[in-house]
């Protein structure tokens, strides 16, 4: 025991009796889980086959040939093949502006402005078409991961201002505004997303005048935006409470308009404090976009489930779900990493 204690890594692992027990338990767990998983996913997996029968003949592991055959479908849904470059360019635009906002040393404000104006408008024009000679692509053809990205980006961009408004509304001195904000926030936080999505996508036409319909995707976007805004409002309210009162008093003493005080002095500091919470909301939102498959929109999860019904590939649920889980894991990891970068770049000012 003494000898082990002196080697740095081993010491931390086996230094005390409790540590040794924990370490052995962890190692046993890994030894039990990892080898069969590795055999299924890699060693015995089949990467090329024409259908499930051929896959089963070739090996006993996962049938990744299914994923390869459907790869484009998983990413673009029914978006027509010759037009897919538009989706790529749109995502690239979003990625470049997003990266710019994260990494730029100067003109941070302009990059952020571009992120909430150029990215949605440009991306929307690219994807929907109908102008500049771009062929219009109706929204039912949007699908796959593209749809998850579109929904989560739009919902997040829409929920930001709405969340700020609701957060201020909840602190408002006007009782009516306060009550309405509270009612709005508590309603959306109190109901399962699945049920409100169902309500919005299936029952909404019954609440509109006869004959008026709203595009299915737009409805999902509205529901997701309102749902996210309620959570955003609570996070930002937390941030607002974290801003020292002296800040607004000082600004008022300088003769600023009350709204100027809130928007120019309090809000920026509050947003800075809320960055970690906002990132959590973004990750949750991205995962929750899978729920739209339940109401008949074909996001990545919807396309995966749908692909399992193809008579040539019946019975490959494990492969489909594993693939979807890995894609979501990677995407969420990117959001979290971007988030911590954001926190470091923008959150720091308060600590200086």
């Amino acid at each position: 025991m003494q000898a082990i204690g002196r080697v740095p890594v081993l010491g931390a692992l086996f230094g005390t009796r409790l540590n040794a027990v924990i370490s052995l338990a962890m190692l046993a767990l890994m030894a039990w889980l990892l080898p069969p998983l590795f055999r299924w996913a890699f060693a015995d997996a089949v990467w090329e086959a024409a259908n499930r029968a051929a896959c089963q003949a070739a090996g006993t592991g996962a049938c990744w040939a299914f994923i390869r055959a459907r790869f484009a479908l998983f990413f673009y849904g029914l978006y027509p093949e010759p037009e897919r470059w538009r989706a790529d360019v749109g995502l690239l635009l979003l990625a470049v502006i997003g990266a710019g906002a994260l990494l730029a040393r100067r003109h941070k404000g302009w990059w952020l402005l571009a992120l909430i104006t150029v990215a949605p408008v440009g991306g929307g024009i690219l994807l929907a078409g109908g102008v500049f000679g771009l062929k219009p692509i109706p929204t039912p053809q949007w699908g796959g991961l593209l749809l998850n990205v579109v929904i989560s980006f739009v919902a997040l961009a829409g929920a930001m201002p709405l969340g700020v408004a609701l957060a201020f509304g909840r602190r408002s001195q006007f009782p009516v505004v306060r009550m309405l904000s509270i009612a709005m926030i508590e309603f959306w936080r109190g109901v399962p997303l699945l049920t409100v999505l169902f309500m919005g996508l299936v029952l909404l036409p019954l609440f509109l005048p006869g004959g008026v319909t709203v595009d299915n995707l737009v409805r999902a976007l509205i529901v997701m935006t309102l749902f996210t805004a309620a959570y955003m409002a609570e996070t930002i309210r937390g941030g607002l409470q974290g801003v020292a009162k002296g800040q607004s008093e000082a600004a008022e003493a300088l003769g600023m308009h009350p709204m100027q005080v809130q928007v120019l002095v309090v809000l920026p500091q509050a947003l800075r404090l809320s960055i970690p919470g906002i990132i959590n909301i973004a990750v949750d939102l991205f995962k929750d976009t899978t729920l739209v498959s339940i109401v008949g929109l074909f996001d990545l999860m919807g396309v995966v489930t749908q692909s399992m019904k193809d008579p040539a590939w019946l019975g490959l649920a494990a492969e489909g779900y594993t693939f979807a889980a890995v894609v979501f894991f990677l995407a969420c990891l990117v959001i979290s990493m971007g988030g911590s970068l954001l926190e470091r770049r923008y959150g720091q000012a308060s600590r200086r």
């Binding site: 309405l180 936080r189 109190g190 699945l194 049920t195 999860m301 969420c332 990891l333």
Partner: protein, 368 residues
């Protein structure tokens, strides 16, 4: 004065606009339903349901009404949610302590599992756990058996069920006594004892005494299934496992942040008083951390309640499955059914928030 009038005019306009929109919606709804020869009518709630519910905690057979199906499934939802709240809090605490412990494997395991769990969709996890549970449990004809009355297999955990008039009365009486003692705790002189030391043993003692008076029905294998006794289905186990693990990583992060938010001097002071590290954690740090972490914890508890709806994917009979699927499908009353489901969830969640807020206020007051 002018400004105040303006403000009120502003508010009245806002309120008026909201009311107008709501009226507009309801007007459209009635017009649309009229065109289709339908109407909003809750009378269907009193019709015979005709279906069975495979797992329930209160009496049910297919002669009961749709309305009562909402009660039965609501109890199932609350039961699963309550289990998840308790277990997720405990597991979250464990993960947080592991993360703060020095062991690199424990820290690594805690961090990896937190990253994996929080970055994959919850529904995928619940489905995964369901099939993992089904894989691990033995087939029915090779059940694990303890004594003559407890069986565990892929169909669930079977335990003997007690019955008898005396049993009912003693159990009900014990519950009332425990509840009274809990509420009137401060009136008694022995409140130096923590409540947690007194109340659970009291409850257990009451149930054990009642157990001697009851007649026990043992589960037995008959035909395709075990018959008799109480069955805890694997769906409940998987749902609780899935939600508990998912929520516990968020709770772990909340607890970790709260513990780290307690001033370092507190643990140093506790140590210098001669408390062990465990004692200083549970008697000094955590009670103070509790104060910071109740508001974010409330959000997680609300999420748990809402997540139980994912049980519909793995055949757990909760509100969404029984009411929004089966009853909606049978009766065709979409507007009424969905309104009830939204209303029930809203009510449950508002009550939960109210309780947590009250607890938060009491803790905050005690601190001063």
């Amino acid at each position: 004065m002018r400004i105040r009038n303006k403000a009120w005019a502003w508010q009245a306009t806002t309120a008026g606009a909201v009311v107008a929109v709501l009226l507009w919606f309801s007007h459209n709804l009635s017009a649309n339903l009229a065109i289709r020869g339908m109407q909003v009518d809750f009378a269907f709630l009193w019709q015979r349901s005709g279906f069975d519910i495979p797992f329930r905690l209160v009496a049910w057979d297919n002669s009961y009404t749709y309305g009562y199906a909402l009660v039965v499934s609501g109890v199932n939802t609350l039961f699963a949610a309550a289990l998840c709240v308790v277990l997720a809090s405990l597991l979250g605490l464990l993960l947080a302590l592991m993360r703060l412990s020095g062991n690199p494997l424990a820290v690594g395991f805690s961090r990896t599992s937190i990253e994996v769990v929080r970055n994959t969709p919850q529904l995928t996890q619940i489905v995964f756990f369901y099939f993992a549970v089904l894989q691990v449990l033995p087939p029915m004809r090779q059940s694990l058996q303890w004594g003559s009355g407890i069986f565990l297999n892929v169909r669930g955990l079977y335990i003997p069920s007690p019955s008898g008039v005396l049993w009912d009365w003693i159990v009900a009486g014990t519950c009332i006594v425990v509840l009274l003692v809990a509420v009137l705790w401060r009136r008694f002189s022995w409140h130096e004892l923590p409540r947690i030391v007194v109340l659970p043993p009291l409850l257990v003692a009451g149930v054990v005494i009642a157990g001697f008076t009851a007649s026990w029905e043992l589960p037995a294998l008959k035909g395709f299934n075990f018959v008799g006794g109480i069955r805890i289905p694997p769906e409940l186990l998987a749902l609780v496992l899935g939600i508990t693990i998912y929520t516990s990583v968020f709770i772990a992060e909340i607890i970790r942040a709260a513990i780290q938010g307690i001033h370092h001097g507190q643990s140093e002071a506790a140590r210098s008083l001669g408390l062990s590290s465990g004692q200083s954690m549970f008697l000094v740090i955590l009670p103070q951390a509790l104060r910071i972490l109740i508001p974010p914890l409330t959000s997680q508890y609300l999420n748990i309640i809402k997540s139980t709806t994912l049980g519909a994917a793995i055949a757990y009979p909760e509100i969404l499955q029984i009411f929004a699927r089966t009853v909606l499908n049978q009766s065709g009353r979409a507007v009424e059914v969905m309104t009830l489901v939204l209303g029930v969830f809203l009510a449950i969640n508002l009550i939960t928030s109210a309780i947590m807020n009250a607890w938060n206020r009491r803790l905050a007051l005690q601190g001063r």
